[in-house]
């Protein structure tokens, strides 16, 4: 599945080429000539543009999320009532989904790739939206991207050869990676390791090639994946050589204490969201996915008595629907608080929210029946003309990958296709 058609990636100088050309004394991590062709003038002038995807494993009840009226004059829905102050920072998109994607929970793999791999078992997955962004723009920051989850290693982020990137689920560990410096001796050791690692990667890559020739044709593809992985790692090591020696940014908050209760879904969401905000504020990364996966247990909120997963299979049972709405409303409320914090963070005269597109979505439009159509989609911030409900046909869905193209364009990437897109998002304009 071609991710893009009309773009030449060769417009960017290879970093390796540059390093060789510049010799070993290259001190500045990135020369402007090496900046990606995507990062046009806009990216160099204003504050950086960013993208955060928050993905839910169990969907959201459409009837509580979406207002009845389309357009700008809508009465807030049950879930959005507490977010009324953010109305002009939000766009709701109903009646959209990924064409051809099905398979219920398995479609989790497709949330950000829009690839029907999960369900059919026919093809392998392709690169996810965040990784696509990070691939071309991720070199500007210490971490090209962050892949996070509220529990476990599952994530919607996939590499180009279709491997899932394991998520970090501990806010305290993430905090350490972002903000706590290694000792100078440890840093030196790391740098030495990286240098040595790069030469080993060269060797191992060549040997993978030789080995592939000795083995059968069925093995070659898989050794090829190894070969590619090694090459990518080598490229990343090259980039991290510079970062390894620079101190990490300082923040004036204590390291968070992880929440041990696996069922405290919203507590964990709030804690991780805090670290996400710090990561954005310090420009440690610009591309983040945060997966709020399915959770079996009873979420500790008054009025909730059954496990979250079991509630999501409500079967239109009133009691279950009511409890599920309590959980989902809390999730949206916590999300709203996260948005407010970004809105309150000043960034050269604009707010952090203005420069960060934040997508809230799920593979499940209806968790009760495992339906992958009518995905819940809310977009916030990022510099779009918000304040509206874009309502599409709930029977014949609008292709959601179009939104992904618009999000790529917002970053200054001049692509006109992502997965099964047919254009840019109808009705969504940049400011």
């Amino acid at each position: 599945m071609a991710v893009t058609k009309h773009f030449s990636f060769k417009q960017r100088l290879s970093r390796r080429t540059m390093l060789r050309g510049a010799g070993v004394t290259l001190g500045i991590p990135w020369l402007s000539a090496m900046q990606s062709a995507f990062a046009g003038p806009a990216a160099q002038q204003g504050p950086p543009r960013r993208f955060v995807a928050m993905t839910l494993g169990l969907g959201l009840l459409g009837e509580n999320l979406y207002p009845e009226q389309p357009g700008r004059d809508y009465a807030p829905s049950k879930y959005l009532e507490p977010l009324t102050d953010l109305k002009n920072q939000l766009t709701l998109i109903s009646g959209s989904s990924h064409p051809g994607v099905s398979g219920g929970h398995k479609a989790e793999a497709s949330i950000l790739t829009a690839n029907p791999a999960g369900a059919s078992g026919r093809a392998k997955n392709s690169i996810s939206l965040d990784q696509y962004m990070a691939k071309y723009l991720g070199h500007e920051t210490r971490f090209p991207s962050l892949v996070l989850s509220s529990r476990g290693s599952s994530s919607p982020s996939y590499t180009e050869n279709g491997a899932m990137i394991p998520a970090e689920d501990s806010p305290s560990r993430l905090f350490e990676r972002l903000f706590i410096d290694d000792t100078p001796a440890e840093r030196e050791r790391q740098a030495e390791r990286i240098r040595e690692g790069r030469s080993i990667m060269d060797l191992v890559r060549d040997d993978a090639r030789r080995l592939a020739r000795e083995l059968g044709p069925g093995d070659r593809d898989r050794l090829d994946a190894y070969f590619t992985s090694v090459r990518e790692l080598e490229q990343r090591l090259a980039a991290s050589e510079d970062w390894a020696e620079r101190p990490k940014p300082k923040v004036h908050v204590p390291k968070p204490v992880d929440i041990s209760n696996p069922n405290d879904f919203v507590g964990r969401q709030r804690l991780m969201s805090d670290v996400v905000r710090l990561a954005l504020e310090t420009d440690s990364t610009r591309f983040i996915t945060y997966h709020l996966g399915s959770s079996g247990g009873v979420v500790p909120i008054p009025g909730v008595e059954e496990g979250y997963h079991s509630l999501s299979h409500h079967g239109r049972d009133d009691e279950k629907l009511e409890q599920l709405a309590i959980v989902e409303a809390e999730i949206i409320k916590a999300w709203g608080d996260f948005l407010r914090q970004l809105a309150a963070t000043d960034e050269r005269g604009t707010s952090l929210l203005d420069n960060t597109s934040i997508l809230l979505t799920s593979n499940l439009g209806n968790a009760s029946s495992h339906d992958n159509r009518n995905m819940p989609v809310v977009l916030a911030g990022g510099g779009f003309r918000h304040g509206q409900h874009l309502a599409f046909d709930r029977k014949n869905n609008y292709p959601l990958p179009n939104l992904y193209v618009s999000l790529l364009n917002r970053l200054g990437m001049e692509v006109d296709q992502f997965a099964t897109s047919t254009g840019t998002q109808t009705g969504l304009e940049m400011v």
Partner: protein, 800 residues
């Protein structure tokens, strides 16, 4: 992915394909559907499965015969299976004559088998498989002689067809490579540390006073001194019972000997205690399990071995949820506050803590890394290796190391790039030690280390040694296997048979059952949910660990004594300690050691099917679902694969309003025809086990979830019928019905073993071999060990 889609009903389109260009000319043969299959499908299936709205989302009007498309191949297998089973065409609406059906079945079977055999001849059934992180950890232990945990440093792995060993699902990305290199670095660092620095020694002999709180006036969570013993009372307070005197100064394995006795034990029993580890501060609330014991009035001593990271300590406390609990104010315990509350407690007499290593000593590690080279240590300066010819020594050592790491003989050519790493390092002026370390690092990152090397056709003896060793031990082949491989004797059936027994009887073989069952029976997920404390008041971590021990001991007994795998479904024995026995309402077991217990019908237990471990992993902690349990029992124990709900049919949302019990809800669900097809298979085992709750205890009534009350809900009705119409009233009758066909149980175990052991699921073309395995195992009444022997001796295992 481009597949020529051919509409078999249209000869014209076939011709079009044929003339479309030379590329397609060859494919036409391949994608042609055999005549007998074509006519059967169009005459029998198309009435319902026609077009995008075809029944169950199956559209046969445009189905292609391009079997290279894996998905299409599976569709054809499914069609074949459902016709073979007599499920399709629906017997009540169709009258097909047996001759046509037989012709369809034999033609289709030949067609599918021939295709897959041809493909496997060229590629093998297992595409380049790699070591799992558990296998990497143990291989690094064997290779380097170290014992530190490493697997956790690598990304969690996806399970495909149930197992992380299945090659087609093993992910590879720069993240995997990066974490792998980091894990290798940690392993080498440890090996070099062991080789170059003085041995790790530490022994602390701690008295009761030394493990108790220092200042008796302060309120803390350490034990208090009462009558010269360090006492911890039964309570829910977190970290109460922590022993700061056991804090590790270095990461390492430690052996603890704990002498303790019970205080105020309940009538007729002891006080069950947990031993856990952690930093025991509020920023690190997790407490990994170390062990458990049942303290008695008479003091006893118990031994535990645990990995203890620097800064962590032990916590020892009563851990039985059924004990009366003391309450303490403000999250601390003052001396003298627990005694008057009249709750049970544990009294520690002494604790001995000793640093140990599991595996080879430091001398062995030195030999592994440096051969016969002498280590020179001069005062505070870093150690060096004594060598007259560093180039030659490095080349020799790297070669030997690579041979072991690649687990087969290596040619000069293969090893040259790795030797070159050491040479380049020496040229840069690095020491011989550093040069070796760099080269070993490269060797351990090599695809030759990470991947299995199997060439299509029969496995050579080295490939066989590897497959066998990672199957039974999850670790690299040992010296004996490698020597037999070198002599070309391992593939000799008699030798192979002896080796399997040797490997299983070896201490390394003790982990086979636990490794296999961790994934086959989802036992690795035992603590995924925590049963709701208000609903399942007797459940606790001791019960949970005992459940795992029960299942492991049970499976090991089947393996050791070659008992029939029918015991999985029902048996007249199990393994219990006093705590688990009490949880099961069995009152004749004493003591904290796991022991074989003969079961009577009144115990209502028998077979893995009724083990607490299985009942727990098939529930979500709050309630049970016959659907989840049903699918699980079908797929893991009965060998019935339940397909996912149809793809392009919009999922139907069951309206279950008005239905009060799960039985009524499912009845409504089944009234929808496309749901019923699978639910006739899914639901029976689920209902049969409804008398077992989410924590694995027997119950007569459902809990009243809204009131959080166990047993307040409707009465349970476990009766149901099997897909073939035979009915049962309860779990016991269900078990008897299933046991009428033990060969099905054996077939499933064989399939699971083959999938786990070879790294690929059992395919259509493997079926004849599978039949032979089952026939062979029938002679021993499907003994577990005989079955395992037959599996390994089969061509499925012996070929790539």
């Amino acid at each position: 992915m481009k597949h020529a889609r051919t509409t078999f009903l249209s000869v014209a389109s076939l011709l079009c394909m044929a003339v479309a260009g030379p590329l397609h000319a060859e494919q036409t043969d391949d994608v042609a559907i055999p005549e007998a299959a074509k006519s059967f499908v169009s005459a029998t299936c198309l009435d319902c499965h026609d077009g995008p709205d075809g029944e169950a989302g199956l559209d046969l009007s445009g189905i292609s015969g391009d079997l290279d498309d894996d998905h299409l191949f599976e569709t054809w297998v499914r069609i074949y299976d459902r016709v073979k089973a007599g499920e399709m065409p629906p017997p009540d609406s169709y009258d097909t004559d047996a001759k046509t059906t037989d012709a369809f079945l034999s033609t289709t079977s030949d067609w599918l088998r021939t295709h897959q055999q041809r493909k496997w001849k060229a590629e093998g059934r297992v595409p380049a498989r790699r070591l799992t992180r558990k296998q990497i950890e143990r291989t690094l232990h064997d290779l380097l002689g170290i014992d530190i945990p490493i697997a956790d440093r690598m990304p969690e792995e996806q399970r495909t067809h149930g197992f992380t060993t299945v090659a087609s699902g093993q992910a590879m990305s720069h993240f995997q490579v990066e974490r792998h290199v980091a894990a290798v670095d940690r392993a080498l660092e440890e090996a070099f540390r062991r080789a170059l620095t003085p041995p790790d020694r530490e022994l602390r002999e701690l008295s009761a006073r030394q493990v108790a709180r220092r200042n008796p006036k302060r309120r803390t969570r350490e034990p208090e001194m009462i009558d010269d013993l360090a006492v911890v009372w039964s309570s829910r307070l977190i970290f109460y019972g922590r022993l700061p005197a056991t804090t590790a100064k270095e990461d390492g394995w430690y052996r603890f000997r704990i002498k303790a006795s019970a205080l105020k034990a309940p009538e007729g029993r002891g006080v069950w205690c947990t031993v856990r580890r952690g930093p025991c501060v509020s920023s690190a609330p997790l407490l990994p399990w170390v062990g458990a014991f049942e303290a008695t009035d008479e003091p006893q001593e118990w031994t535990f071995e645990t990995w203890l990271p620097k800064g962590e300590m032990l916590e020892v406390r009563p851990g039985d949820n059924t004990l009366k609990m003391a309450s303490f104010k403000g999250g601390q315990v003052g001396a003298g506050e627990g005694g008057p509350q009249n709750v049970p407690g544990v009294a520690l007499h002494s604790v001995t803590m000793e640093r140990i290593h599991r595996g080879p000593d430091d001398d062995t590690i030195r030999t592994i890394l440096f051969g016969d080279l002498e280590i020179q240590k001069d005062g505070k300066k870093p150690a060096t290796l004594k060598s007259d010819d560093p180039q030659a020594d490095a080349a020799r050592l790297v070669r030997t190391f690579a041979g072991r790491a690649f687990r087969r003989p290596v040619s000069d050519d293969e090893v040259a790039p790795y030797v070159a790493v050491a040479m380049a390092s020496l040229e840069d002026g690095d020491s011989l030690l550093d040069a070796l370390r760099a080269a070993y690092r490269a060797v351990l990152t090599s695809p030759r280390f990470l991947y299995f090397r199997e060439v299509p056709g029969s496995l050579d003896d080295y490939a066989l040694a590897n497959r066998l060793s990672y199957f039974l031990w999850s670790r690299m082949p040992d010296e004996e296997l490698m020597q037999l491989a070198a002599k070309g004797r391992l593939s000799n059936p008699q030798v192979l048979h002896e080796q399997i027994d040797r490997m299983l009887n070896d201490p390394r073989g003790e982990r086979f059952v636990a490794d296999f069952a961790a994934e086959w029976l989802d036992l690795s997920e035992i603590d995924f949910t925590e049963p709701d404390r208000r609903l399942y008041r007797e459940f606790d971590s001791i019960v949970q660990q005992s459940m795992l021990d029960e299942t492991h001991a049970f499976l090991n007994r089947l393996l050791d004594e070659d008992l029939s795998v029918a015991n999985l479904i029902d048996s007249d024995f199990t393994f219990l300690n006093s705590r688990l026995a009490r949880f099961y309402d069995i009152d004749r077991v004493k003591g904290d050691t796991l022991q074989q217990v003969m079961l009577t019908p009144e115990d209502r237990r028998g077979g893995v099917l009724t083990h607490g471990s299985i009942l727990k992993v098939t529930a979500n902690g709050t309630n049970t679902s016959p659907v989840i349990r049903g699918v699980w029992i079908n797929e893991r124990l009965l060998g019935v694969r339940i397909p996912s709900p149809p793809e392009n049919v919009p999922a139907i949302e069951p309206d279950i309003r008005g239905a009060t019990t799960i039985r009524e809800m499912l009845a409504k669900h089944r009234s929808i025809e496309s749901c019923a097809a699978c639910h006739v298979k899914i639901d029976p085992p689920g209902f049969a086990l409804e008398n077992f709750d989410a924590a694995g205890q027997w119950r007569e009534r459902y809990p009243l979830l809204s009131k959080r009350r166990p047993g307040g809900g409707p009465k349970i009705d476990p009766s149901y019928e099997l897909p073939d119409g035979r009915t049962f009233q309860n779990a016991e009758e269900f078990q008897s019905l299933i046991l009428e066909s033990p060969e099905n149980i054996a077939r499933n175990v064989a399939e699971q073993l083959l999938t786990y052991g070879t790294g690929a699921p059992v395919g259509f073309a493997d079926r004849d071999d599978l039949d032979r395995i089952i026939a062979q195992a029938a002679e021993s009444d499907y003994g577990f060990r005989s079955l395992l022997h037959a599996v390994i001796a089969s061509p499925v295992f012996m070929r790539k």
